[in-house]
Symmetry: C2
Subunit: 213 residues, 2 copies
DNA sequence: GTCTATACACGGATAGAC
DNA sequence: GTCTATCCGTGTATAGAC
C-alpha cells in the first residue's frame, strides 16, 4: 500500500483528510505528512490546494456520472421509440450519487463538501468548473426528459432539472434544515425512494403556462 | 453615513464584502479598513471572523423568518379549522426568501453563501447553529403541513420539507447545474412560480408506503 | 467599556539547489 | 521530479491607552 506514485499518494491522503476534516480544516502540511511526500509536491503536481480538491472531486464525480450515463444508455436501448418513463430517468439521475456514497463511506463526505467549496468561491470561477464536470451528463438527461415530457417547454424542463439537482444535493449532504424532531424513522434507502417519488410527482406536474404563444 | 457605532460599521462592511468577495475571500484586514475601524474591533465585538459571519447571516435570516411566520399567522387566522391549502403554505415558506433577495440586491449574495460556509464546517458545529436559526420556523410549518396533509406520516412530511428547503436554497443560489443551453427564457418571478408549482405537486403526491403498520 | 497597537503562530505559495 | 529554505498574508490573542 505504501507503493504508489507521489501523485496517487497525495490523492489518497486528500480523500481521507478532506473527507474527515474538511477543506479548510486540512493543511497542506498535514496532508503531505499523511501522504509521506514533500510539501512542495502538491504544488508541483496540482498547482494549488484548491486545484487538488478539484482533482479529488473530479475523480469521484466522473465515476458517478459514468454510472448515470450507463443507466441512461440502457434505458434508451430498452425504449427505442424514446418514451422513457420519467421515473426511470430520475432514478438513473439520482441513484448513482447515493450508490457511490454507500459504496465508499469514507469518501462520502468528500462529495458532500463539493457544493460548499464551490459556493464559497466567486461565481465566475465556479461556473466554468461545474460546466466542465456536469454539462455533458445534464444535456443528455435534458434531451431525454424533453422527449419524455413533450408538453413542457424546454425552459421548464431545464428549470425542473435544476430543482431536482438542488433537492438531490441537499439530500446527499444530509439534513439541511434542523432535525425536525428526532424523527429517525426512515433509513437511507427509504429516503431515496421518497425523494425520487417526490421529484417524479413534481416533474410530472402539468405545465405552468403564463401568457405564451 | 460615516456616523455609526463601530459594531454597525463592521456589520455593514461585512454585508458588502462577504457578499461580493465571499467569506474566504474577505480578510479581516480588508474588512476593518473598509469599515474604518481597528482590526481588533472585530475580535472584541464578535469574538472571531466566523462569529461575525454568523451574526451577519442571522440578521438577514431572522428577517426572512419573521416574514414567513407573519404569513403563516395570517393563513392560520384565515383558516381557523386548519385546512390551509398546501400551495399557500409553500408560498409562505418559499417567497419571503426571494422577496428579501430582491429588496436588497447587494445583500443577496450574503445569504447565498450561507450554505457554503455552513457545509464547509464540521457537522457538529453546523447543526446546532442551524437549529437555533431555523428550528422554530420549521416546526411551525411542519405542524401546519401535517394538518393540511393528514394522509402523510409525520416522517414523510419532514422529509418533504427537507427536500423543499434544498430545492429552494439551490434556486436561491442561482443555477446549480451548468447553464443548460443559454436558456434565459424565464425571469426571476416566473422561476419562483414554477418552483412553487413543482414543489406543490411533489408535496401533494400520494404517500409512498412500504410495509407499515 | 472601547478601542489601538503590536505580537504571534500558522497557512499557502515560491525560488532555486539537487 | 524532488526537496529545503524562505516569504508574505492571515486569523487570533493580548497588553495597555483612553
Amino acid at each position: 500500500m505504501a507503493e504508489a506514485t507521489t501523485r496517487e499518494r497525495i490523492l489518497g491522503a486528500a480523500d481521507r483528510l478532506f473527507g474527515s476534516h474538511g477543506f479548510r480544516g486540512t493543511s497542506l502540511r498535514a496532508l503531505t505528512r499523511e501522504a509521506g511526500v514533500n510539501l512542495a509536491a502538491v504544488h508541483y503536481h496540482f498547482g494549488s490546494k484548491h486545484e487538488l480538491l478539484v482533482a479529488t472531486l473530479s475523480r469521484h464525480i466522473d465515476a458517478i456520472n459514468a454510472a448515470r450515463i450507463a443507466q441512461l444508455d440502457a434505458l434508451e436501448a430498452a425504449h427505442p421509440n424514446g418514451d422513457i418513463p420519467p421515473l426511470d430517468l430520475l432514478n438513473a439521475l439520482v441513484r448513482p450519487a447515493f450508490a457511490f456514497r454507500h459504496a465508499s463511506p469514507e469518501n462520502a463526505e468528500v462529495v458532500q463538501r463539493l457544493s460548499a467549496l464551490l459556493h464559497s468561491e466567486p461565481l465566475e470561477i465556479v461556473h466554468p468548473l461545474m460546466e466542465g464536470l456536469f454539462s455533458r451528463v445534464m444535456q443528455r438527461f435534458a434531451a431525454a426528459l424533453e422527449r419524455a415530457l413533450p408538453d413542457l417547454e424546454p425552459e421548464e424542463v431545464y428549470l425542473r432539472i435544476q430543482i431536482t439537482i438542488g433537492a438531490m444535493v441537499s439530500a446527499l449532504a444530509g439534513r439541511h434544515p434542523p432535525d425536525l424532531a428526532d424523527a429517525p424513522g426512515l433509513d437511507e434507502e427509504e429516503r431515496i425512494d421518497h425523494l425520487v417519488h417526490f421529484l417524479a410527482a413534481g416533474f410530472s406536474a402539468k405545465p405552468l403556462n403564463g401568457a405564451d404563444s
